[in-house]
Structure formats: structure tokens, C-alpha cells
């Protein structure tokens, strides 16, 4: 048989692969982010934490990775939009009755909504912390920039804490599906290892959620001052 296939990236599976790869890349970023966050529990008035922040803001390799990270996020979002639109078109007349809970998890069916919530949260989150840091970077005041104090200030506001908790929970559920799903997409499904990957994914999602939720809660309840 002769090959009649168009190019890879335009194909449904190519798009899927991009979603999976960018997803996994973003997951790896989350590990770094969560590690940095946990520095706040050193209980040293934010010294270690601020050092970490400074490293992240000034290390040239990290600066390059940051750009890649943003490209990753944008690709992930754009692909998601394209796929969602295509998927919507694939069923023009909807069912009167569907019983999704009988065959799948709600969050696996709600990745679009969870992702949109995450995007909104991301905008708020960046405006809280990233914008200030960037301003300091380009203003040449990065050495004096105190992210720790910013955090204390933001999370004294209960409204902000609520938003962060919602954002982090959305992230948790997004990961609960996304982690194992990206392995499946990459074709890594094996009777022996897939159950492990699924379990690892679930624990990872829970851990990430706890670590990220711990910071605003700890600040709000005065555990971290």
C-alpha cells in the first residue's frame, strides 16, 4: 500500500502528541515550582526562599527555559482550543441523555473547563508575582526584590487565598487526568506499568495540590510570618 498520509503535525495524533509532550513539560516545571515553594517552610523569615527566587530570576539557563516554558503553555492552550473546536464539530447534534459517570471520571471529561479555570488563575497568579519580579529584573532592582514579602501580603487577603485554593484544586484534577493521559498519548501503555503510572499520577496530583495549597494557607493562618 502506498502512503497517502498528510503531514504529521496536522494529524489528530500529531496534535495529541503535542498536547501530551507540552503537558509533561509543564509537569516538570511544576516540580521545580513546588520545590521552590516549599523553601518557605524553612521558617527562616524567607531567606532561603528569596535566595531561590533570586537564582531563578538571574540564572541565564533558567531565563531561556522560562521562554520555552511560555511557548509550552501557549502551545498547550492553542492545541487545546483547536482540538476542542474540532471535537465540538464532531458531534453537531447533542444527546438528550448522557450517562458519563457510568464510564469515565468527571475530571477526565472536564479537562477543557479545568484548563480554562487554570488559565484564568494563571493570569491572576502572574499579575501577583511574575509581573513584579519582571519589573524588578528590567528595572535593575532584582537583587533587592523580596518575593517573600509579596507573598505574605497577597495571602493575607482571604479572597486571594480562596482564588488560589480554587486554582490549585483545578490544577490537581487537571493533573489527575493529565499525568497518566500523557503517558497513554505517548503510547506508553503496558499491562504491568500502566497501573503504576496511574497510581503515581494520582499521588503526584495530590502532592502538588497539597504543596501549593500549603503556602497560602500557612501564610493566611499565620504559620509562616
Amino acid at each position: 500500500m502506498s502512503n497517502t498520509s498528510p503531514n504529521f503535525i496536522q494529524s489528530s495524533l500529531g496534535k495529541k502528541l503535542l498536547m501530551g509532550l507540552t503537558g509533561l513539560f509543564l509537569i516538570s516545571f511544576l516540580v521545580v515550582h513546588a520545590t521552590l515553594n516549599s523553601f518557605i517552610f524553612a521558617m527562616d523569615g524567607g531567606e532561603l526562599f528569596n535566595q531561590g527566587c533570586l537564582f531563578m530570576a538571574t540564572n541565564p539557563i533558567i531565563r531561556i527555559i522560562e521562554i520555552v516554558l511560555f511557548i509550552g503553555i501557549i502551545l498547550h492552550i492553542v492545541q487545546a482550543l483547536i482540538l476542542t473546536l474540532k471535537n465540538q464539530k464532531a458531534r453537531p447534534v447533542k444527546y438528550a441523555v448522557t450517562d458519563g459517570k457510568a464510564n469515565s471520571k468527571w475530571y477526565s471529561r472536564s479537562m477543557g473547563i479545568l484548563g480554562s479555570l487554570l488559565l484564568m488563575f494563571l493570569v491572576i497568579h502572574l499579575s501577583h508575582f511574575w509581573v513584579g519580579t519582571k519589573a524588578a529584573q528590567f528595572g535593575g532592582t532584582i537583587q533587592e526584590h523580596n518575593t517573600y514579602l509579596e507573598i505574605i501580603e497577597v495571602f493575607h487577603n482571604p479572597f486571594n487565598v480562596l482564588i488560589y485554593l480554587l486554582g490549585v484544586i483545578s490544577l490537581g484534577y487537571h493533573l489527575a487526568h493529565g499525568f497518566q493521559s500523557s503517558f497513554q498519548t505517548l503510547g506508553l501503555n503496558h499491562p504491568k506499568y500502566t497501573p503504576l503510572i496511574k497510581k503515581a499520577g494520582l499521588w503526584f496530583s495530590i502532592l502538588i495540590t497539597i504543596v501549593f495549597a500549603a503556602m497560602p494557607l500557612a501564610v493566611f493562618f499565620g504559620i509562616v510570618k
Binding site: 464539530k89 477526565s108 497513554q184 503510547g187
Partner: protein, 247 residues
Amino acid sequence: MNLTLKIWRQKNDKETGKLVTYPVKDISPDMSFLEMFDVLNEELITKGDEPIAFDHDCREGICGMCSMFINGRPHGPKRGVTTCQLHMRSFKNGDTIVVEPWRAAAFPVIKDLTVDRSAFDRIISKGGFISVNTGNAQDANNIPIPKPDADASFEAAACIGCGACVATCKNSSAMLFVSAKVSQLALLPQGRVEATTRVKNMVAQMDEEGFGNCTNTGACEIECPKGISLENIARMNREYFVANIKS
């Protein structure tokens, strides 16, 4: 038992349809779901109404022709069962049952509950085969095939092409169907010869037909009456990526 049926009626693919309510009485729990439809149709014909069109043929769960979306699930509430094998003992007296056709852009409604699934045939014709002409074969035992591979291939080959995977998928994706065929052939040494072009061509045709994309919810695997595994989709992904890296 007595039941209330809400059944999708649609004259053809051009007109829009609607759910119509039909009460049915004295249904035996030993009846199959389709036999209940026979009874209802018999009543409609006697009354001078048009009977409900629905696809069915073998009525033993293997031809893949029957296709009803029953109370939000393809082939109804039981796992591993096609509509024709679903029996009324799975329902209770007084139940309301909503019956809709498979819904997907790639499966246009022909009439009532009957849909056009020829997209599946077109996908198969792009690569769901091994290109061996009649009379070319060597002795069947010349290539030993490890039993686990043969068994896995058989499990994938058990697909009946009913389209329940597409019907239940929130994205109307046909990946379970396509991957079952890709897997069946990829697992056999005879099928490896054309593995690269096969997966590329079949995926291209699948996209062309307007099926949605897989988001790994796993609903298809649960609803598949033949228990085709999600592993097949992963295998297809793998095959596809490798094929594209190779050429």
C-alpha cells in the same frame, strides 16, 4: 412489566428529529431489547403508524449492526453486551427508557435510530488489511507466532465495528475502532510488513471523516461490547509516531 419509551424519530438526514413517547405494556423480562421494539413496531403497524427504523441483523451480538443509545449509554446499561443481547430483565417495571441514535458528524442519521457508519469501511479500505493476493500464501505454520501475541491480536480483532466507542466518546472519536485494527495487524509478523503505511493511512482517513480526537477518558473501553482495550490506542499512537519518525 410496563415501560415508557422515549424514542428518537427522524424522517431522514435532512429533517430534524425529536423524541416521541411510547408507552409499552406487558413486556416479558425474557424478551430482548430488540424484541420489545418488535412488539412496539407490530403495534404501530396495526395502528397504521410508521414503525421505528432501527439497525439489527444477527441478534446474537456479533454482526455489530445494532446500535442504540439507551439511557445515555451505547447498547444500554450492561457491560460487554450489545443491544440485541440486552434483555428486559435489566430494567424495572415503570422505568422510562430514552433511546437515541448514535450521534456523530461522521455517522449521519438515515432514519430514526438508523445511522450511516460507512466511514468505518472507508477507514479499513485505506489500510486495515494485509496486501496478500489469493494464492500467495505459504504454509500457515511456517511463521510461528507466540501465543501471547496471537491472543492479543485476536482480542483486538474481536471488534465488531458497531461504533459504540464513537457514540459514547464525548469527542466522537473513532480511535478505539481504528486502533483495534492497527493493533491486530501490528501484533502479527505478517502485518509488520506494511505497518508504517497502514497506520499513517488509516489515521489520515479517520481524520478526513470528521471524527473527534481522543482525550483518553476511557469511556470507549468501558462501553465496548467486546471489551477492546485502551492499550490498543496507545499502541496505535506508538506505531504512528514511530512511522512518522521513520518516514
